[in-house]
Symmetry: C2
Subunit: 468 residues, 2 copies
């Protein structure tokens, strides 16, 4: 669109003013009688005009992917500590914890090797996180395609010795992409277990995305005691569609799969913690956090670099605005969300033993997109209290406060009875990037990231002043 | 984030179910007693799962930028006609109109030429749309920086013979980026006029974006009868900041500016129109449209390829779902929104003379981002009626229906008394791309584009059934 037509092509100025009016619309209501409304506006304006979250994210992602146990994760831990020190946070410290240490190998290959019509066809795959390697020569076996564990079980003996290809797509018709993810991700998480139980020799899983491209999406997978550990890989959606077509045409299709990943001994790492100490009730704590580790594809810009820098930005914003919270606001960069939750468990253990009291825990781990609200795990009275503050988030369109899951890293606190709150951003784009080479700084919009930080800062400040 | 932790690390299944619950939250309310709720859900699901808008946008943007009068615009007109025919729309036709024909020249150069400390420094610029060229040898003159027309006027004689550098940024602290745009765009639209009045020899305008990059943003500019026509160019935000710093350091800074753009005679072009003819009141028409032309930077993916393909998709979706509207729904691809509004005027003239009646006009021209609501120009009774249907858009977060400007192409109809409705998407990213090389297909997310089309399809259908 082009406002200039209103200047240049003879339309009256009044039309222009009416037109401009649409840009100010309902966002410009006076909020004078509403507590914290002015402070919320200040936080939003400051975050948008002088926000540092994107600059911090550029620094954090510059180290590369931050898988637990990796040198890059160690760099991120030290960067977080130094950043919090430089920003003048209180009580900056590391909370040490041992983390799993899985490494992707240099070779990840898959190919259709006996296609009668087209010859050898390479497929784009990557190992799922936690997978064992294939034998050094790779696995060569026939592939069978299934859409569900139920379908796999009906195969009986036909699955034995085969590579099991789990090809149920995320349901694109779902409005909320996390719901679509929830409906497909058991293939990734338990595919290797179910395939092995059926006698399969490897699992190949359609990438968890609704986007059609040649970028495989990794992610956590599990094994089960007493069930053979077989290699598991993700295949790009383009590769999955192609493979499915070849199977439909040729019926008997053989694949070669080679993965060289391995699990090393647990490695030392740490959560990174810094605070704004409460002016009146310092022993009462509001946690705001994200997870510092990422998968080893892309650079974890949305997952969850965004949540980390937003949490740091919450404290930085409040300091910059000279807002002194009554209760302590504590930023926690949790380590090892993706493949162990060891950081969350360590933090939870300390919280359970400490004399201080956690008033609330807020996590951002659904990407750095425009915020739409908060998903809350607590009792009805507290939920109602939070909803009563929804007007503070209306101007930025983030006033949808509802009952639902909060976040993985704060789930340990939630089980201890702490109200858990998850920032809910617009979900449409998340799985375009998630756990893949696409999850890089360029996929994050600075203003959207800033608005998420502002939403969290407002909520933290209000809860720090009012309790919950 | 990684749901798998709930499978693999010993957290009870109940936690997982609670966690998944957050993905279904308030979006899953039963809408059984609400008219059109089921149809709205069907439209949304179909748009998300089987939408064609992105495929159409890929085709449309493949021709290149579509500035009025260009071969690419002609290709877009013919593509629209053929696409509507292929999709089986009724009464597909061209509405011919002559359009302005401005062309950017091959040379667009600017440089600081006398910097004592750093030598010649090139700056990234592009001509503003409609600008005259510089003399063939370029313009060499001292540059003066101003933040406003008021400041320019206070310069008096000091502005004479100078290149006037308008460097007031868009105000990033505004939540709505269109409001920030509205506060800065007079520099682009009237900068050349005001600079010439002050005795300036050229206007150099900071690009209309809050993003810091080296990509200049073009856009419409005007001249005024009786005021000399001087060349006008946009400078990238990085270039603007650099130039401002050099001026602050060196006080007297000389620039060389060369532009080779020109205005050719008006060229023939056309609006493209296709319909779903109303089953009961075919003479009553709901217009849904966008503009087919774009600026000649990028490929006009968001501005306004998105609005065009969404409008086509509205009709396609209703046909695919076998929904037969009582009133006619007419898709209009308006030509020449960016630098003339000739298509809108031609459509308006015909509408004023025709026997049919326009019930409403809906435009999408704010980018293909996740929809957040509609901005409406009509009387209070009709606005209230539209607001009463807001529940249909709640699941997709597009239920903010408020009084405000609608769209440039439908403004002619609005002046005839037709209710005008603008689709309002999330605005944070729009000016990253707007009128620049950044506005390409890759900047558009398929799901967000589909949701906008779904929102318009729901509204069109309800108004077609119920009137307004």
């Amino acid at each position: 669109m082009n406002l200039l037509k209103f200047f240049n092509w003879g339309i009256k100025p009044i039309s222009f003013l009416l037109f401009l009016h649409c840009f100010t619309n309902s966002f410009a209501q006076a909020n004078n009688n509403k507590p914290y409304a002015e402070i919320a506006q200040q936080i939003i304006r400051t975050a948008l005009a002088e926000g540092q979250a994107y600059r911090l994210l550029a620094e954090l992602t510059s180290f590369g992917p931050r898988l637990s146990g990796s040198p890059q994760a160690a760099a991120a831990v030290e960067w977080s500590r130094q950043t919090m020190m430089k920003l003048g946070f209180d009580n900056v410290r590391l909370q040490e914890v041992m983390v799993p240490h899985w490494v992707r190998g240099p070779i990840e290959e898959a190919a259709v090797i006996n296609s009668a019509t087209t010859g050898t066809i390479p497929l784009t795959v990557c190992a799922l996180g936690g997978s064992v390697a294939t034998p050094e020569m790779g696995i060569v076996a026939e592939v069978v395609e299934v859409k569900s564990f139920e379908e796999l079980r009906t195969l009986g003996k036909k699955a034995e010795g085969k590579i099991i290809f789990f090809n149920r797509p995320m349901d694109a018709s779902k409005i909320n992409t996390f719901e679509a993810y929830g409906g497909a991700v058991n293939q990734r998480g338990s595919g290797a277990i179910e395939a092995a139980k059926a006698g399969g020799v490897a699992a190949l899983v359609r990438s968890m995305t609704t986007r059609l491209d040649d970028v495989p999406h990794t992610g956590g997978m599990g094994y089960q005691d007493g069930v053979p550990k077989i290699p598991a890989a993700a295949i790009s959606t383009i590769g999955a569609n192609l493979l499915s077509q070849i199977i439909a045409q040729e019926k008997t299709v053989r694949l070669r799969l080679k993965l060289t990943c391995q699990t090393l001994p647990d490695a030392p790492s740490a959560n990174v913690i810094g605070e704004l100490t409460g002016a009146e009730k310092p022993e009462e704590v509001i946690v705001v956090g994200g997870h510092l580790d990422s998968w080893d594809k892309g650079t974890g810009a949305h997952d969850d670099g965004a949540g980390c820098v937003q949490s740091i930005e919450v404290l930085r914003l409040l300091k910059a605005l000279n807002l002194k919270p009554k209760r302590t606001i504590r930023a926690v960069m949790f380590i090892n969300e993706e493949n162990g939750l060891r950081g969350a468990e360590a933090y939870g253990r300390e919280a359970a033993m400490s004399k201080g009291k956690h008033i609330a825990a807020i996590e951002s781990d659904r990407g750095g997109f425009a915020p739409r609200g908060f998903s809350v795990e607590t009792d009805s009275a507290r939920l109602a209290r939070l909803v009563s503050w929804a007007y503070l988030f209306k101007d930025i369109g983030a006033d949808n406060i509802f009952r639902g899951g909060s976040g993985a890293d704060i789930s340990v606190l939630v089980r201890q009875g702490v109200p858990g709150i998850g920032l809910v951003p617009e979900s449409q784009r998340y799985f375009d990037y998630h756990h893949s080479d696409n999850d890089v700084l360029a996929a994050v919009n600075e203003r959207e990231l800033n608005l998420g930080a502002a939403a969290m800062a407002i909520l933290c400040y209000v809860v720090a002043q009012e309790g919950l």
